[in-house]
Amino acid sequence: MNTVVAQLQRQFQDYLVSLYQQGFLDNQFTELRKLQDEGTPDFVAEVVSLFFDDCSKLINTMSRSLERPENVDFKQVDSGVHQLKGSSSSVGARRVKNVCISFKECCDVQNREGCLRCLQQVDYEYKMLKTKLQDLFNLEQRILQAGGMIPQVNIS
């Protein structure tokens, strides 16, 4: 029995579970992992990468729309939040999604200050998640390189 692999697998499992427990991820991430198989081993990483690119782009455009207090394009901001909420929801990025919910509320009442706070929070949350998932993917790579398989993790 290869104990290095077993150790790495255990580490991976514990880390993934902790991400759910700390609220970074929700059930939709599990759904996402179901879509990955031997034929598409990079699916989750690709989708997640697309998501983070989207986050970066949308945060930039929303930031510009919110820049001048006398001329805020709330329609633009709303469109950005809508997209971000959709993709974070599809990926299982729970914290990001939750900020988007508050963000939408601020947008609906045209609260610029509130929007700016949410924008900052969304930026923080997506970057935080990006680091966490990068660590997770690195663990996956180490397992594969050691000749092991990525464990199926059941989140109750």
Binding site: Q28, L35, T40, F43, V47, D54, G86, S90
Partner: protein, 210 residues
């Protein structure tokens, strides 16, 4: 000796978001469907071979590729999923193709309108694998029709609607006994959809089962 290969169902997926296209494509592939994705309603019509009705040279051509199902996002710039649905259902060549609408927003009036216009299902995003497996019966119908057979009795048993039309005063408790495979999103949609007594008799007697 000839090889009998079962052809896969071919789905046309329409969504203006690259991210969502990637997701739906994978979901469908995982369910053993062949997928073509396009980013707009007009491209979908082009793919089908149906030109825009305001084209003076408009001719409904034969379907160039056999499509067993169209799944489309509702909110798209230009032609919405609803507009696309209407165009498909108004076309004599393509109205038999089942259409499914997806949306990230749970708007009961929107859901009713789509179902009334002939959409087979309305999925709330994020779409899951369990949702996609519900598409098989709808796609089977088109294959059976083409082969000139009547749908079997089995088909009715497996046909489970996503939206069950409930009276407004339906007790919430009774819903707890229903299928746990329904996501809470869809359950919410079920609670809010207003019963309008529309003429879709095939759903009236079917209840979702556990």
């Amino acid at each position: 000796m000839g090889m009998i290969t079962e052809s896969k169902f071919h789905v046309l997926a329409v969504d203006d978001s690259l991210f969502d296209r990637k997701m739906i494509e994978r979901l469908l592939q995982k369910s053993s469907c062949q997928v073509t994705t396009v980013d707009s309603g007009s491209k979908a019509l082009e793919f089908l071979g149906l030109r825009e009705s305001n084209d003076p040279n408009a001719v409904e051509t034969h379907q160039e590729v056999e499509i067993n199902l169209i799944i489309t996002d509702y909110c798209m710039p230009g032609m919405t999923g609803y507009d696309l649905l209407k165009k498909v259902k108004e076309s004599s060549a393509f109205k038999s193709i089942p259409v499914v609408i997806m949306s990230s927003e749970n708007v009961p009036a929107r859901i009713s309108r789509c179902l009334e216009e002939g959409a087979e299902e309305f999925f709330l995003k994020p779409v899951k694998l369990a949702d996609v497996t519900k598409l098989k019966p709808h796609m089977m119908k088109t294959k059976l029709k083409k082969e000139g057979e009547k749908p079997s009795e089995e088909e009715n048993a497996t046909l489970k609607p996503v939206i069950e039309i409930l009276p407004l005063h339906q007790e919430l408790e009774s819903e707890q006994h229903e299928s746990s495979t329904l996501s809470s999103n869809k359950r919410k949609a079920m609670e809010e959809v207003i019963s309008t007594g529309r003429s879709r008799p095939k759903y009236n007697d079917i209840t979702t089962s556990v």
